[in-house]
Each structure stands twice: as structure tokens, then as C-alpha cells.
């Protein structure tokens, strides 16, 4: 273990051998202690104490092999054993993401974002700060609309509404007369409150969309895939 980076030990689970082989080159700030093609390969080799973060690709089988643990089931399997999980995927479907975070994922780094953003996200999760992707802003807005985030302050609600519409940080800060940093802090608070709601819902990885809507207190059809 590298003594200068004692808390950046990362295990990578990805079915792509290229991703596994190049991960340490792409993210030099992370100490890659192991790369694995499957969840079981990691749990058979390393204990949660051996790694500070498990970077998990959501899709681990391209052949729809039901024996391969993947998606929310893989998250649940790892978090139940004490691994800290950060997803590494471009998945954006709210139903899937809601279930992953409800199952204990601590963050998500989008593969379509820049390498710098990804590395920042991994380091943030290692430090214990959740990283919730911007794709989930819509879920937070939906929960707030259905009064499932009652503790939001007026300012947090304004920031949430603005970010859900895609207003940039700079424009939003100017609009509300606050600094960009303050706006971002308000948004982080919103996301943490949403995460608490998701974790309290204990969504099963086999839950149907209807089950998830009921568990989150949403109306039927709220989380159905948008048609555009």
C-alpha cells in the first residue's frame, strides 16, 4: 500500500478488461488495489477492510447471464457486506438509480463526464461525501412536488427548481442573489435529504416501478419512463 495515499485504495469491478487495465492510468490519484470482472471475484479476494472504495460498473454481463450479479442487486450484495460503493456508469434511468442509492450506493460517477470530474467524484466518496449525479435532480424535484421532502427550505426549493430546469450555477446564483458556492451547498443539502428518503424506502432490487412509486410516496405513473 502506498503510504502517501493511505485512504485512496480502490477496487474496480467492470466487465470491460480495457477499463480494468487502464483504470490506474486514467485516475492516477487513486491506488488501484484490485480489478475484477464480477462482484463475486472481489468478495472472494478482498474484504471491505482492504479497500476504501469499490468502483462498480452497473452492467457486468452483456449476454444477459442471470448468474452474473449486476445492477441494483450487485450494489445490495456489496453494501450488505460492508463495501463502500461508487457506481461508474452512464445509467440515467431514475428507477434504476433510485434503487441503487436505496441499496446503499454512496455515489455515481458518469462515464460520459470528464476524467477530472470522475476522479473528483471518487475522491469525494472516499472522504464520505455522497456524490449524486445531476440526472437525479429530476427525482428530487418529483419528490418535492409530492411533498416527500418536507424539510426543504425555501432557498433549497428555489435552487432545486432552477437546477432541474438546467439553469447554470452562475445564472442561478445571480438570479437568487447568492454566491455559486452557496447555491451548490443548497443543492447538496437537497440531494442529501433525497438520499435519506431513498435509503429509508429500502427499495428491493426486484421491485416493480409501481412498488418503487408506492414506497417513495409518489403517484402512479410518476416514474414511468418519459416518452420523449
Amino acid at each position: 500500500m502506498n503510504a502517501s495515499r493511505p485512504h485512496n485504495r480502490v477496487a474496480v469491478i467492470d466487465d470491460s478488461s480495457q477499463t480494468r487495465e487502464s483504470f490506474h492510468l486514467v485516475f492516477p490519484e487513486l491506488e488501484v488495489v484490485g480489478t475484477f470482472p464480477s462482484v463475486n471475484a472481489l468478495t472472494a479476494t478482498m474484504s471491505p477492510d482492504d479497500v476504501d472504495l469499490t468502483v462498480l460498473d452497473l452492467q457486468l454481463s452483456r449476454n444477459f447471464d442471470e448468474q452474473v450479479l449486476q445492477g441494483p442487486a450487485a450494489v445490495e450484495h456489496l453494501t450488505a457486506r460492508g463495501y463502500r460503493v461508487c457506481l461508474y456508469t452512464d445509467e440515467r434511468r431514475l428507477l434504476v438509480l433510485a434503487t441503487c442509492f436505496s441499496s446503499g450506493a454512496c455515489g455515481l460517477a458518469r462515464k460520459s463526464d470528464s476524467i477530472t470530474d470522475n476522479q473528483t467524484a471518487f475522491l469525494q466518496v472516499i472522504k464520505g461525501t455522497p456524490v449524486i449525479p445531476s440526472s437525479m435532480v429530476e427525482l428530487a424535484e418529483l419528490l418535492a412536488y409530492r411533498d416527500r421532502l418536507p424539510t426543504l427550505t425555501e432557498r433549497q426549493s428555489e435552487v432545486l427548481r432552477g437546477r432541474a430546469r438546467g439553469i447554470t450555477w452562475g445564472a442561478l446564483a445571480r438570479r437568487l442573489g447568492i454566491s455559486t458556492k452557496t447555491a451548490q451547498e443548497h443543492m447538496n443539502a437537497v440531494m442529501l435529504k433525497m438520499m435519506s428518503v431513498l435509503q429509508a424506502a429500502h427499495l428491493s432490487n426486484s421491485a416493480t416501478p409501481g412498488d418503487i412509486e408506492r414506497a417513495l410516496g409518489l403517484a402512479p405513473g410518476d416514474l414511468a419512463a418519459p416518452t420523449c
Binding site: F64, Q70, G71, L94, R165, P226, T227
Partner: protein, 396 residues
Amino acid sequence: MTVSDTPLLRQDTTIDSSRIKAERAMTVVLGVFRLGMLVQVLFSLVSSTIRSEIVWGSAVAGSVVVVWNVILFGVVIKQKSFAATPTWMWLIDFVVAAQTVIVVSQALPSSSLIGTWAFWPYAYICATAPTFAIWPQPIWRSMTLSVLLAVIYGVTVFPGNETLIYTIINNAASVVIYTLISAIGASFIRRLAQTADQHKERAIALEQERHRFHMHDVTGLLNRLSQEDIPPEALAALRTQALRESNRLRYDITSASAATPNELGSPTVESVISASLKGFGHLPLEIRTHLGQDISLHPDTAVALESALISLLYNIQFHAGQVQEVIIHSARQADGWEVSICDDGVGFDLEQTPMGFGLKRQVIAGLQSQGLTVTVETAPGEGTCVFIHGPLVEPH
């Protein structure tokens, strides 16, 4: 659907077709009906034995019925439906039903043949005949067997009960009517299931076609990028193209089929957004319309909104190199609806840079002519947002 969503191209062989499920559902319903009747028959036989009124002909016929039904239900449970049982079994089922009527009617006095549970075979054929409709056989054969059972019943109970002729006819007709109802229901359910299966196959075929279409360019590009002899000066253009193809592929795969006007044929905010996005999948789009579902629009408003959105998307496409994200958002509000389109591009100073012809005439003027309000918010380095507000209307 599970949370992870069934992949579009996956044909899961572990999922039964609608037709198989329909056969099993019919088997359960008619099987329970028939089992219930069997329990009543057994109760009738046991109670008559306890009262020492046992009629041996009835007991023997009852035993045959019990043994046959144990065999029959054993096979049905194993095969999971009547439709999957061997074809010769329907014949035995008919013979057993007919023999009970004949044997028991000969063993009982004629006065016990109408309106009493002593002549339990009538109840048995009432429960048996409807299941003829879900055997693997044509409807005409089910109805013929049912009519034959009704005739056998009528002929065997008529002697000694001539004064009850209308009751006998009604009872016999009931057997036929039960079978007819069962046959009509089975036919309807089977057609429904067959239609569902056909739609599913059609959807899979269309989805495969869509994927083949979208993969065509991407595979070529990936192959090109993998080649080691690409001139370095060509890499930038290929990377730009790769990003566009990546956006397009993600949009095509994650977006559902295009939204259509609502049940009344009225355009909706969703259907307009969906229509306006055609051809812009290569942009880094993020569509957030969960709060804006089922908002009806006047047809003229829909045309203006679609035209405005297309103009705005063209404008974004023109500056695509500087845009990382385009978010289209819709929401129902207390006094109407809102559609917004925001990008995180360079933006511009509204006071120093006048809006172009497209934005001014095609977007703002076009929307305002329909009574919609438009707000443009932009500043250098802070992207551009266009907010469009309109009133709620009844489906047109």
C-alpha cells in the same frame, strides 16, 4: 418489469407467452369450478352412506369419477393446463361423464332424478361440459359433446318424469349454455392473448430494426478509431463525431417510443417535445418531463411550440461545440404549464447582442401570437434559458 428494466432486445425464454398464460388462467378458473363440484358430489355420496341410504350403482359411478379426476388433474397439474394434455383425454372425460348419468339414473328411482343431490351426475356434467371448451379441440366438437351429454341426460331422466318435461329441457339446456359461455369466453381470451403475442413480436422486430439502424454508423466509426494508421490531424474530427454518435446512441436507447397525442387525439406537451427532438439526438440532451405529463395543448399552440423548440435546438446545434448539456424541462403549474430549454453554452449579453431573426420572429413572436409568454435569460458564460408559459386547456 424489474428495476433494471428488461433489455429491449432480450427475448427471455423463461417468460411464457400470453397465450400460454391465458390457457393456464382458464385452467385454474374452470379447474376450481370443477373441483368444487367434485367436493359436493363426494359430500353427497358420503352423507348418503352415513344415512345407510347408499345406492351401490351410484357409489361405483362415483368411484369411477373420483379415480378419473385424480388421474386427469394429475396430468393437468403436470402439464399446467388442459390445453397441454394428450388429445385423447377429452374422449375419456366425455365417456366418464356420460356413464355416470346412465348408471346412476338406472340405480335410482325416477322420483329422485330431478332436483335432488341423490342424482349428482347432473351437477357433475354441469361442471364437466364447460371444460370441453378449453380442451385442445375445435369449438364445434366441444359443443357437440355438450349437446350429446344434454341429450343423454334428457333421455335417461325422462321416463317416469314425463310431467317434468320443461324442467328436464331447461336442465339439459343449461349444460349446453354453460359450455357455450365457456367456449365464447375461451375464444375471446385466446384471441386477446394471441393479439398480445403478435404485438410483442412486432415490437421486438421494430426494436431490432431500430438498433440495427442506429448501430450502423457507430460501428463504422468505432472501427475507424481503432485503426492505428489514422492521421493525427483527423483525430479531432473523429472524436467530435464519436461524441455526437455517443449522444445520439444514448438518446435513442434510453428514450422511449415517441409520445403520441392523448386518448382524445389532442396534442400534449410531451408529444410536442417528442416531435421536436427528431433529428437532434446527437446533442447532449437531457429530457425532464416527469412533472409535465398529460398536459393538453390547443393544436395551434402545439404547432407554434414545436416550431419554437426546433428553432431553439437548431440554434444550440449551431453552437454545439460549446455546449455540454441541454436540458428540456416541462412542468404543470397552478395556473398553466411551463416548458423550458436551457443550455450551458457561452450565452450572450441581451443588451449588447440583439436577438437574431430566428429567435425574435420564429420563437418569440410565433409563441406570443398564440398567447404564450416567453422569457429569455442569458448572460455571457452562463448559458441560455428560454422559458415558455401557457394556459391549461381542455383536450381539443
